[in-house]
Every structure is written in structure tokens, then in C-alpha cells.
Point group: C2
Chain length 309, copies 2
Amino acid sequence: MAYPHRVKLVDVGPRDGLQNEKEPVPAAVKIELVHRLQDAGLKEIEVTSFVSPKWVPQMADNAEVMAGIRRQPGVRYSVLVPNMKGFEASLASKPDEIVVFGAASEAFSQRNINCSIAESIERFAPVVEAARAKGIHVRGAISVAVGCPYQGEVSPDGVELVARLMKQIGVQHCGVADTIGVGTPRKVQAAMEAALKHYALDDVSGHFHDTYGQALSNTLACLEMGIWQYDASIAGLGGCPYAKGATGNVATEDVVYMLQGMGIETGIDLDKLIDAGKYISDYLKRKPNSRAATALLTKRMNEACAVPS
Amino acid sequence: MAYPHRVKLVDVGPRDGLQNEKEPVPAAVKIELVHRLQDAGLKEIEVTSFVSPKWVPQMADNAEVMAGIRRQPGVRYSVLVPNMKGFEASLASKPDEIVVFGAASEAFSQRNINCSIAESIERFAPVVEAARAKGIHVRGAISVAVGCPYQGEVSPDGVELVARLMKQIGVQHCGVADTIGVGTPRKVQAAMEAALKHYALDDVSGHFHDTYGQALSNTLACLEMGIWQYDASIAGLGGCPYAKGATGNVATEDVVYMLQGMGIETGIDLDKLIDAGKYISDYLKRKPNSRAATALLTKRMNEACAVPS
């Protein structure tokens, strides 16, 4: 199959990225980041979550952030919800989309959600029903889709199970996430094929972590399957909760650099994207965790310093 | 085309990597690094260069390093030579292979070697002839094969020209190098196709830099063409001379992680490889510039610190 002509990227930095920051990031900074992402051309942004602030204090400002965004027509603003309580709390913020989730590994599900995979999805059924009744799009995320920190390798059967259960309760989109970044091209393709048993090509996306440096090759492997939707995180925000100091979410800048180089349309302005990554990285007092951003920022600096000859 | 079943990696760290270090690395450390690489299963190592120490003082210990290596049967030890003088100086060290080079961009050739592409290859003709007469294998490296710091994009025609000229003078192997790391899958495939007009599949290899994070996706794109030989640099040694602070050579550890995950045989023990990368990184007082190494070293540390429950 030929590569897709265009790719849609979902920037999950404001939620999936910033929820791993130790120091709280002020709502105003998050709002500015969202503005910069949409100005750069992102058409979907995972803004925040409506999870108990006891568990995720970093997202306690969810309503404030959602209320502060100058919404752009054509951009989808999504929020993660863990249950009906979170969903109801999110409603006043008028999300365009909610994200629900399940793990492809029983060990991970038990350790993280204290219930089986099947139970965890079943619990989302009334949330999905309520969201769809209100015309809110429902995205599902399948975590640890190729490897799990507790059980090791995850078979595509785990992904297939979660995809089937999500489809049954009415989840409209199936995101396949290599949460710990251990995937390599063939394994990731097998996980995607499992999801594609229950979801159409237009309703499946990839979410890759660069912990072992594999995110772009995994993306390329999925592009070959025709998959045209991917999550990524500005400046590689997020880190890896299972290997402190290691890289987590793939940087949006790196994905865009590859896609642009391949002539695949993203609608994203790479220069503005680099600026958005620099904005949040400067706030966090570190460098963007993106090789493309690092190289391009270095190039900019060298050009600014160059003496005309 | 199906992926190759096995891949041969050439570790260029001791030469291409360490020649970019500001502080000199003692010969004993270089020798120990070569030993660790061969113990890890590398079957070809680019050890040093016989370039004037005026230009590359980091390699002034070339003869000492070559003399200090405990050679293993089945391992090829190669050295880079810039001209007949360098070739003659290398002979006492009995290299299994010499590396000659040319640029795919006229601008780069003029700026770096002060002559045209055609002249630069022509000058190697007597070196290649002398080497082959002595049964020394001759590898050619085509630099800036997709992009050039002076002229920007490089067309596949530039690669085709150098490959043709190298073939004419008897160079046996054609390595295609994305020296500044700007390549993306389609561009790299086009460069490889240009080289394959003059060289057989078994005589072509890829040399990718991770400056923009693209090295592994470029490798995957070449694996799809059946290309089964790649350069890589332990711990990502090398940096990028055109963007200080940015990443250069792709880390051998990252390539091996991908290939192992894909079930492609490399003959390399990843644990020992990680140790080799840690050895030289510890000496250089920094962390390996490899995401796989960073993640695996973090995992090791966490396991060592884990309290049995």
C-alpha cells in the first residue's frame, strides 16, 4: 500500500505530556501552549483530563484551561475522562471529544485500574453512551499495546480483545499506544492489524513513545499500512513513568519533520511548531526533547550568529 | 521485498565517532573499545584513519591503536585513508579494508577537498589499485548523499555520479551517507537506488545520522529495499560538526534494538553492546547518546535497586 497523502496529528502534550511534570504548570501557560499549537496548524489537541486531583494534581486546573482557550473552528479539543464522574465534570467545558482507555495487558489493568480488562471497558459503557447522546466524539486508547512493564511482551490478542470490547460499547476511534516504547515495526504492525479487525482504517491511530528510539520507524511501518492518524507530544513532553530519565512520547517536531520530508501533508508549520516547543521548554527550563527541534534551533542560532562574508 | 533475514553492522565509533572529540582519547581506551565491540559481536569495525595529524590530531595514534588490537578471526578492521600517502602509512598496520570517500555535492567537495567530485575520485584511483593488488578490500563512502550544509538538497544524480566513478576505479563497496542527517525515507531510498545503478545489493550500505531523529526510519526504508549493511556508532559517538550540540551518527544500540525486535539476526549481544557504549561514555564523562541504551541502563539500575517484596 502506498503511503497516505496526508496525516492528521493529535498533540497530546498539554495532557499526556504535562501530567508527568513534577512542578505544576500554571493554567495560563497551558492555554498559551494550546494557542501556539493551533496556530502551528494542529487540528486536534488533547487538552487536559478530568481525573480526580488527588491522583493527578497536574490536571486540577482542567476547567480553567478549557475555559481559557480561544477555540478555533475546525480544531477538536479533547479531554481524558476516567469514569462517569469525570465525564460529568467535563461537560461544562464542552469538550469536542472524550478519551476513554483500557490496557491490552491483564497485569497492567489489574495493577493500574484494579480490575480486569473486560471490567474496565464495561465500566465505560454508560460514559460512552452519555457522550454519544450529546454528540461528543469518543476516542478509545489501548495502552501497553505491544509491551507491558509487568508482564513483558503483549500479544496482539490483547489489543484485539480491547478493540472488540471498545467497539461493542460504541467507542468510535481506536488509538493503539505503545506506552513503554518497546515496540518495533513488525510488532507494532501486528498490534495495528489486531485493532483493524474491529475498526476501519479511518478510525485507527498510533501513539508511539520514543523510549528506545523506535517511534519514527514504528510510524513509518504504520504509514505503510495506510494508517494516517498519530498522536505526538510537542517537545517530547511526558517522559517515561516506567524509566525515569528516559524519553516518553515521541516529539511532534520529529514526526512532522519526517512527514514533510516524505511529501506527506500535515497542515502544520514546522517553524511555528518549533516555537511552540521552545515556548513550553523554556518555561520548564530545559531543552525540547526532540532531535529535529534541537537541530533546527541550533541551525537558527548559527545563522543568527553568522557574520556576513 | 521482504526484510533481510540478517544485517551486518559496521561500527564506526572508534574512527568517525572519536575523531570529533575535542579532548584526545588515549590509544589504550580506543583499543579497549574495539575489544568490547568485537566481544559484543561486531564483525567490522572502522578503527582509525591515516590522515595527517595536522588535520585530525585525534587519530595521530592510528598505528599504535591498530598494533594494540587483539584481532579476532572473522572480524574486519578498516581504516580511512585520504590519499596515497595515508594508504602507504596504513600498510604496516595491515588493515583488512581501506575506506575512500567522495561527496555527492560539488559545493561540499570544493569546500572540503578543494576539488571537484570527479577529481576527488580520480585521485583515489592509484590508491584503490594498490590496495586491491595487495588483497585489501576497498570500501567507498559517499558523503552528503541527501543533503549538504552548503548547497541544501542533493539530487540522486550526485550519488549516481560518485557511485559510477567509484565503480570505474575499482572501489568494491558503496556506502551511502546522510552526513548531516536531513534525509527522510523516500529521499534516502532514492539515493540508494542511485547507488544500486552501479553496485549490487550486496555491495551497498547505509550510513545514517540521527541529527533530526530520522536514522531508524531511514534504516527501515532501506531494509525494505533489501539493503542489509549499515554503519552505526557505539553510544552515538560523533556529534554533528555542522550543528554543534546536535546528534550525529546513529547509535549502534538503537539500530540493534530495532533489528532484534524485528527478528532480524545481527550476531550482536545487546547487553554487551550497551556495556561497550557505557565504557566509552563513562570515559568521556557523559551519557550514551542512544535512547535504547538510556532506557536499558535505567531499567538495569531500577532492577538493581528494587527491594524484593
